[in-house]
Symmetry: C2
Subunit: 119 residues, 2 copies
C-alpha cells in the first residue's frame, strides 16, 4: 500500500507504446505509457478503457471524429468502439483497464502488441 | 463519449466532502471532490478505492501511518483497510470506486454520508 509518484515512474523508462503497470485496484490495472506517432486502429470487445494525459497532448481518433486530450482531461473509450491514439510529440499517458486487457485489443497479433510489465 | 475536463468540473461546485460523478467505465465511477478538514475513519468491505490528487495536498491516515499525496501521485486503499482522509487546506481529489460504493463505507449512517450526484 504505497503511493505511486507518476513522475518517478515515467523517469524509469524511455520506450514508447509499451504500457507499464504501476498500480491495481480490484480487477483493474493502472498503466502508464510514453507514446509518440500513431498507434493502430483497434477496439476492445468487452472492456472500457480510460485515458488520462499526464504530460503532452494525445489525440484519440475515432472513425467519425478526433478527441484531443491535455493534462487534466480524461476520456473513456467504450467497449467495442474503434479508436487509434496518436501524438505528434511524445506524450505521457495513464490508462485504466481491466486486468488482462491487450493493448491492441482485437488486433492482438499486431507488431504493436505487448504484454505490460510491472514497473 | 465526451472528454472530461477536471478543471471545468471543479469550477462548478464549492461544497466539500460531497463526491460528484464525472465519468464511468465498466462497473466503476470516476468521482471528484473538494475536501478540507478531517473526514471520518471508515473502510470499504469489498471495494478498493483509488485516490489521486488534482490540486493541493491530501493526507490519508491509516491506523499505523499517514500517506501524503500531492498532484501527480495516487494511492489505492485496499478493501477492508480503515482510513481517514484529511486536508489542512482545500484539496481537489479524484477517486475511482466501484459503482454503489458509499463514501463513508461501513459508517454508512454517518452525518458525512452522501449519495454522489452526477456532475
Amino acid at each position: 500500500m504505497e503511493k505511486v509518484d507518476l513522475a518517478e515512474k515515467f523517469a524509469r523508462f524511455s520506450e514508447q507504446w509499451k504500457p507499464k503497470i504501476v498500480g491495481s485496484f480490484d480487477d483493474y490495472h493502472v498503466k502508464v505509457a510514453k507514446v509518440q506517432g500513431e498507434f493502430i486502429w483497434h477496439s476492445h470487445h468487452d472492456e472500457d478503457e480510460l485515458f488520462m494525459v499526464v504530460d503532452g497532448r494525445l489525440t484519440i481518433h475515432f472513425r467519425d471524429r478526433d478527441v484531443e486530450l491535455v493534462p487534466g482531461e480524461f476520456l473513456v473509450v467504450p467497449k467495442g468502439v474503434e479508436h487509434k491514439p496518436s501524438a505528434a510529440e511524445e506524450c505521457q499517458i495513464l490508462m485504466i483497464e481491466r486486468k488482462g486487457t491487450v493493448n491492441t485489443g482485437d488486433m492482438e497479433n499486431s507488431s504493436m502488441t505487448v504484454q505490460p510489465e510491472i514497473l
